[in-house]
């Protein structure tokens, strides 16, 4: 077996031992990747005294195998290429489905709006007079009805990209943060606003302004800059707002980081209704254990199915 080391070894590393199972299989694999059969065959030939063949001549069997190899490569290539359009098709199919569903959603929401107006009309006709007026006022103040009026628009926008902060002051990044929008909305309420919308998203008592990653979500719907916070309220609202904390803070931030912040009067604003809130009803607890039933009965009146608030 000592010849094999001579025949086979390019790196001059001694080849260990015989051919039997080596516990260090991976080391062996890395050290000597050539199939040992070649060395054995060469050894046999040397023992029989045949010279190793030089040059590039190969036997017909090997040629057949090589042809087969080329065939295999070509088939594999064709196969991979054939699968490609299938994938692209699936993707474009999904894109088309998404677009179709979005269109359906838009249509349905338009229909829902129309139906809601119809319901409002019917309700007003049914209630008549003061009842309907009271309902309208309640809807306007809770954000469930469309409102029109004069007010202010606060416009916030990120600083243009690539612009360095104007000074080294530590006032935060040159982007509008969700907390900025929260502050603006809260101070507008504080200044007497009766209705507020951010980029056309009406705020109600249960609205949320949060961030998810880079995006700002108003009521779980993403809004993108520039952000326009429109508020309808009394004439003195603007003056009061200008003196509020968020206005002062944002002016300072705008000066230092380059993001834009402006407050202007606006006439005849129309703020859309907020989406109908999901009404949640309390359900009587269904308890299987007798002790739970005792507790329930002990607590007096169980909540009525229709009486629960949101």
């Amino acid at each position: 077996m000592s010849e094999r080391g001579v025949v086979n070894d390019e790196q001059g590393e001694g080849r260990r031992g015989g051919r039997g199972f080596s516990a260090d299989f991976l080391t062996e694999l890395f050290r000597n990747p050539l199939d040992p059969g070649y060395a054995d065959a060469a050894l046999r030939r040397a023992q029989r005294g045949q010279p190793g063949r030089a040059g590039w001549s190969v036997s017909p069997v090997s040629l057949v195998i090589v042809v087969l190899l080329g065939f295999l490569f070509a088939v594999a290539y064709r196969q991979t290429m054939a699968e490609e359009p299938g994938r692209a098709q699936a993707r474009s199919g999904l894109v088309a489905q998404i677009q179709q569903r979005q269109g359906e959603t838009d249509e349905l929401s338009i229909r829902a709006d129309a139906l809601r107006e119809e319901v409002n009309r019917q309700r007003e006709a049914a209630l008549g007079g003061s009842g309907a007026a009271r309902l309208r006022n309640l809807e306007a103040s809770t954000g469930l009805g469309k409102v029109r009026g004069d007010g202010v628009v606060v416009r916030l926008a990120d600083a243009p990209p690539g612009q360095q902060p104007l000074s080294g002051a530590k006032v935060g990044p040159p982007q509008v943060l969700y907390s900025d929008l929260q502050g603006v909305a809260n101070d507008l309420w504080g200044a007497g606003a009766e209705a507020i919308a951010i980029n056309g998203q009406r705020l109600t008592a249960t609205s949320t302004i949060r961030n998810a990653g880079q995006a700002i979500l108003v009521d779980f719907r993403p809004v993108t800059g520039p952000y326009e916070v429109s508020a309808i309220g009394p004439g003195a609202m603007r003056k009061r707002y200008e003196g509020s904390g968020s206005a002062l803070t944002m002016r300072k931030v705008a000066q230092d980081t380059g993001l834009s912040f402006e407050v202007r009067d606006a006439e005849d604003l129309t703020l859309p209704a907020a989406p109908e809130p999901q009404l949640r009803y309390a359900q009587p607890a269904v308890s299987t254990s007798p002790s739970g039933a005792d507790e329930l009965s002990g607590s007096g009146s169980s909540p009525s199915p229709s009486g629960g608030g949101r």
Partner: protein
């Protein structure tokens, strides 16, 4: 030289005939290609080492492809097809790398 021509002929044949692979065999195709590549580079290296042997080449090609396919089949039956395919690719990949390195040393003396 003849071997290269034969390889080209095989490629052309494959493109010309354009056979459809039965879907049952499709998962084995990539593994078969890797196993075949291993046999080819082993053969080329043996050639450069002047210890090439026709029988060894043919047997190693066929057995490589069959064993690789068998392992993948077994893995599929056992529910670890992906992992076993990875294992096959790693082992054959190591061999391919080693043999290509040896070929490179032969050809460029570096």
């Amino acid at each position: 030289m003849i071997a290269v021509l034969a390889l080209l002929a095989g490629v052309l044949l494959g493109l010309w005939l354009d056979p459809t692979v039965p879907s049952a065999l499709q998962p084995y195709l990539p593994i078969a290609v890797v196993a075949a590549l291993d046999a080819v580079f082993g053969g080329v290296r043996a050639k450069l080492d002047r210890i090439f042997d026709d029988k060894q080449f043919v047997v190693s090609f066929i057995s490589n492809v069959l064993v690789a396919a068998l392992i993948v089949y077994l893995g599929d039956q056992l529910g670890v097809g992906g992992q076993l395919s990875t294992g096959v690719v790693v082992v054959l990949g190591v061999r391919i790398f080693g043999n290509v390195a040896a070929i490179r040393r032969h050809l460029f003396r570096a």
